[in-house]
């Protein structure tokens, strides 16, 4: 493709963009948040139409009109934001539009068995007849992947498929990709995880500010070259945790946390000024711990003390009252008001404490704070009045995070805080989190990116199947040790899990 231009009201998303994908290769597409990657992919799959420019497929000029047309052209896409029907089952989602059927009726048995085969082939941990709305974000991501792979596509576009995945699942996905690539098929792979580009891609195309910058052969390029081209400057990656003295006060102490569905006897201790990493594989129960702590889900038993005083947190408002904040891993469903603007979103959590007088909202103050966040997190938006749904995925994530940074929480529980955020901005966020810890705030950080956890945490608690299986200090923690505990099967009563 060449000469692609696409504008939105107030934004020029793409200018003179070009790209080429050869048969049998995996092309990685990288760029900062808001650089225009997703927009480009949407043009390819017929969701948007370009203002200018043209696409060529096998030398023939094509113009994807709509998603169906793109499918017919052999283009299959995994969107950055999920496009799943929460009320339908996994199988129904995967084969939507291609249901096996007889003359009149659908053949659901066949549907389920086909989905079952596919799921098995991909090694997913879901059942075909599970309702998608009940799955975790990571599982939903896997369903998206299964859906895209189930088309016999020639070009597979994956927009940040691994943002919500664990290393193990990422490896499995890369396996799949390698199996998918045939001499006449190709993959465009968008990711912010630099280390996986080496593993999966053949070439890397870098874009910046909606413009084409360069294309490198993965084998010849170093990551710092890529990053420099991406952000237009050198990055320093020197942030790491400052030491926390052991004798610091314990802020939050949780013992015997159980929930109906998964958690069994979880114990946690969080010290002042500490960043506590929570590691585990998909479905280990980290998100459940976080949600249980802020009272978003009911717990069957738990003893929680806050600075030594026992407290009962029965809903997130209580938690907020105690100075506990929670950033959800699911920004779209649980984190953001998509139809509202950036400043409303950023101000939401602290309206009552920071931005009101006599019940009236002080809009100027909200907007000033929002502008500050936009600057410090480098949120790419025309103004703080832009609606959040018009931001790129990574920038939405930054807005969700900014809401909690603006609010002065004593304890911050952040679930996959850097999901979909580019390398440059990640550094900013790490720096900010570190500063918070320095100020004496305590942070529980859930992340599926082990390197990130290893780098940021003072202590790492590892979970598996709803139990805590290990605890490692920053010094002793290594990738191998964490994985060891994460894959440990607690001598669980498998019966009651079933």
């Amino acid at each position: 493709m060449r000469g692609i231009v696409k504008g939105f009201p107030g934004v020029r998303a793409l200018q003179d963009m070009r790209l080429s994908l050869a048969g049998g290769e995996v092309l990685a597409l990288v760029g900062e948040n808001g650089a225009g990657k997703s927009t480009l992919m949407k043009l390819l799959s017929g969701i948007h139409t370009p203002d200018e420019g043209e696409f060529f497929l096998d030398g023939r000029r094509v113009r994807p009109r709509d998603p169906r047309h793109a499918q017919e052209l052999g283009i299959s896409i995994i969107h950055q934001e999920f496009n799943l029907m929460p009320d339908l089952t996994v199988a129904q989602n995967i084969f939507i539009g291609r249901e096996p059927r007889g003359r009149f009726l659908l053949r659901d048995r066949e549907l389920n068995s086909r989905a079952g085969e596919l799921i098995e082939r991909l090694g997913l941990s879901v059942r075909p007849e599970q309702t998608v709305g009940t799955l975790t974000v990571a599982q939903q991501q896997m369903v998206e992947i299964a859906k895209a792979l189930s088309y016999d596509a020639r070009i597979l576009i994956m927009d940040e498929p691994t943002a919500a995945l664990n290393d193990a699942e990422v490896a499995a996905l890369h396996d799949l990709i390698r199996r998918f690539v045939q001499p006449d098929t190709g993959v465009i792979y968008v990711s912010h995880r630099m280390n996986e580009l080496e593993a999966v891609s053949d070439r890397i195309t870098v874009i910046r500010d909606g413009r084409y910058v360069d294309t490198l052969n993965t084998a010849e390029a170093t990551m710092s070259q890529v990053i420099t081209r991406m952000v237009g400057r050198e990055l320093t990656t020197d942030v790491g945790p400052e030491d926390v003295r052991e004798d610091r006060e314990t802020v939050l102490n949780v013992t015997g946390l159980c929930t109906k569905s998964l958690l069994r006897d979880v114990n946690l201790r969080l010290r002042q000024g500490e960043i506590l990493g929570l590691a585990g594989l998909m479905g280990a129960g980290r998100t459940e711990v976080a949600r249980a702590l802020v009272g978003a889900d009911p717990v069957t038993s738990a003893e929680v003390t806050l600075r030594g005083r026992p407290v009962r947190v029965s809903n997130p408002a209580d938690a907020a009252g105690h100075g506990i904040g929670y950033l959800s891993e699911d920004r779209k469903q649980l984190g953001l008001l998509l139809d509202q603007d950036v400043s409303s979103n950023i101000g939401l959590g602290s309206l009552r404490t920071r931005f009101q007088s006599f019940g009236f909202v002080r809009d100027k103050a909200v907007r000033a704070a929002a502008r500050e966040s936009v600057e410090s997190l480098r949120i790419r938006t025309p103004s703080e009045n832009q609606l959040v749904k018009h931001l790129s995925g990574g920038n939405q994530q930054k807005v969700a995070l900014a809401k909690w940074l603006v609010k002065d929480c004593e304890i911050l529980i952040i679930d996959e805080p850097t999901r979909g955020i580019d390398v440059g901005a990640k550094e900013e966020i790490y720096r900010l989190l570190n500063d918070l810890a320095q100020e004496g705030k305590s942070i529980i950080m859930v992340s599926s990116e082990l390197p990130e956890l290893l780098r940021m945490s003072h202590r790492i608690v590892v979970m598996s199947e709803g139990r805590v299986t290990g605890e490692l200090s920053a010094e002793e923690a290594t990738q191998e040790k964490v994985m060891h505990y994460a894959t440990l099967r607690p001598e669980s009563e498998r019966a009651d899990a079933a």
């Binding site: 709509d66 998603p67 969107h79 496009n83 339908l88 089952t89 939507i96 059927r101 549907l111 075909p128």
Partner: protein
Amino acid sequence: MTAPAAAAPQQTDQDGIRTLVQGKVQQLLAFASLIAIVVFFSFASENFLTYSNITSVLFSTVVIGTLAVGATFVIVSGGIDLSVGTGMSLCAVMAGVFIVNMGLPIWLGVLCTLLFGGLVGLVNGLNVTFLRLPPFIATLAMMLVAEGLALVISGSSPIYFEGDSGYTDISTGSVIPGTDFPNAVLILAVAALIAGVVLNRTLLGRYTYSIGSNEDATGLSGIDVRKWKIIVYVICGVFIGLAGVLISARLGSAQPATGMGYELQAIAAVVIGGTSLSGGRGSVLGTVIGALIISVLNNGLQITSVPQEWQNVILGCVIVAAVYADQARKRTS
């Protein structure tokens, strides 16, 4: 709202059997509210559980039930249809025009009426998809237009199906030999069965749930959302036409001014039956149970001679209790 399990169609599969049984149990539990009410009234009045009273309860469910089954499609797809009530009067009037004024044979007149109902639905569907009007507005407008047109076409007076005693048999006759079990009830049963199969087992049904669940994602999956939405409204329209036939056959006349208010009752039946107004979830069986709950309550309160001004008060409280119990059960199971 929080109950995932009233969810979309259930499948049969080795793995899925547990889900299936759970689902059935829950439907059974929704049914339980109805049973509880029936049991209560059976004790409250000896006249309640008689053959003739049961038929009359079923008969009184027919019109609301038919409208509600049609509306289920629209509501599952995430829309709403306020035009079912006055649309029904308009269709009844058109049945009169076709059969009485134009002298068409009954079967043809009925067919034309169903098609006319489909036309009403088509206009709704086009307004919702092509003009992109909110369904509430599009169908509210149709409600007003249908109310007016029914009066205009009929000249504001009922059309009587005089000579055609065959026509009233559609509702009040009985094909079951030796009984007076009204055909209308059988027609509703068959229509609901077909609707249930369509919603559960066909492409159309699948896409209806899909659109209601996430319209954008459905579109991005390459499905022509507009087309299917229009079809959904047309189906609802055909049910409006059917209700128009059933009510006019029951009364022996097309009453042009009788439909207003039925829409709220129909939607209430759908929602009591566990279909979510935000779309994506629901079932025809639930709707039928919802419609039955309403008519059993009405009948039971009348039969136990509760003073009429108290009937609505009690009706409101029982609806709250029934829906609450239903939801609470779903949450815990």
